[in-house]
């Protein structure tokens, strides 16, 4: 990876004590040159301790659980205040492959886009998920295409990188919960350019998806509403 740019990997973590250390080490092994920031979102387990024990990442502890959006935004605030050129978001559950970091970052460092999403569906990568989840992702893709005319194969992906401009925007404006799709529509609305690049995705090793069956309906409704309103709202 080009080392003349300061790159920060933001890892939001809520009760991920079983995977956080492995994820931090994996990122370090693949890219020792990047800085890492674990944002511990008020975990009740040893997430913070285990992340600190690696000695490879900066750890910020939020005193309360503010939700994934608030946690990720903390990372963007940190990145923009400390002069990073590129910020990458990566999930703490080990589903994202640190080896793909380069692909996502190079889209940004080459100036091809302001934001690059690691997509599981751009190429056949062998990633499969439940039919309901796939249907949900397809629905959001359709919604984004209907509202913005842009095609995004994997708008719910939490593996993404932004340049300084988009990072500063996110530091000021970021959705609170289930933020992935809404954040993209916000960027799009503000005229930022977004690209996708194919990535591999592992099946979940530890912990559970934050989206349980009961929350699925809330998730779909909340995100759809947010996406619709963002389309017509005066964004920040």
């Amino acid at each position: 990876m080009k080392t003349d740019l300061n790159v920060l990997v933001i890892i939001p973590a809520y009760n991920e004590e079983n995977s956080i250390a492995r994820v931090v080490r994996a990122v370090h092994e693949a890219h020792p040159e990047v800085d890492m920031l674990v944002v511990n979102d008020g975990s009740t387990d040893e997430t913070s301790l285990r992340a600190r024990a690696t000695g490879l990442a900066h750890v910020i502890d939020l005193p309360f659980n503010v939700g994934i959006g608030g946690a990720v935004q903390t990372g963007y605030i940190f990145a923009s205040r400390h002069g990073y050129d590129i910020a990458i978001q990566l999930d703490a559950d080990g589903q994202h492959e640190p080896g793909d970091l380069n692909k996502i970052v190079s889209v940004i460092s080459n100036g091809e886009a302001d934001c690059c999403i690691g997509s599981r569906f751009l190429e056949k990568t062998g990633y499969t998920s439940t039919p309901i989840r796939q249907w949900g992702i397809r629905f959001f893709s359709w919604l984004i295409r209907a509202l913005t005319g842009r095609t995004m194969t994997d708008p719910t992906s939490g593996f993404r990188a932004v340049n300084r401009k988009a990072m500063e925007y996110f530091a000021e404006n970021y959705p609170d919960d289930y933020p992935e799709v809404e954040a993209l529509v916000m960027l799009e609305r503000k005229g930022f350019t977004i690209k996708e690049t194919p990535v591999h995705m592992h099946c979940r090793e530890e912990g559970h998806s934050s989206i349980t069956a009961g929350k699925a309906l809330y998730y779909m409704t909340k995100v759809s509403l947010a996406v619709l309103l963002t389309r017509f709202r005066n964004v920040g």
Partner: protein, 125 residues
């Protein structure tokens, strides 16, 4: 409406309004959040003290029972109040999130000051 209920409701409405004023005086509620309550109290006093207002409104809206008008007014005001509170809570939640973030960032930068050997020390002012 009978005379008794008329007097009683006037007293109740006045008591509510006085309570709100007293709460503002003791700074238990901020003035800006009390405006709705004061308006509500004033409307209730007027409706109780001059039932003619309700009766006229009922005739105008072709509502048979004047008390129904009172219930509708009460319901609408309660909804406005709840909506107002939701707006306030949303703002408070946004501010709280930002405070939590700033606190955590500040704590992290203090930690790094205490441990200057840290790899990331150079990044923190």
């Amino acid at each position: 409406m009978s005379m008794h209920i008329h007097v009683l409701s006037t007293i109740c409405s006045a008591a509510l309004t006085i309570s709100v004023v007293e709460l503002i005086r003791r700074q238990r509620i901020a003035e800006k959040y009390s405006l709705l309550w004061l308006v509500m109290g004033a409307v209730m006093i007027v409706c109780s003290a001059y039932p003619r207002v309700l009766e006229d409104a009922a005739r105008l809206l072709e509502i048979y029972e004047a008390t129904s008008v009172l219930i509708i007014i009460g319901f609408v005001m309660a909804m406005v109040m709840i909506l107002h509170l939701t707006i306030v809570i949303s703002r408070l939640q946004r501010q709280q999130t930002r405070l939590i973030q700033e606190l955590a960032l500040l704590k992290a930068s203090l930690e790094k000051e205490e441990d200057p050997d840290d790899r990331y020390a150079h990044r923190i002012g």
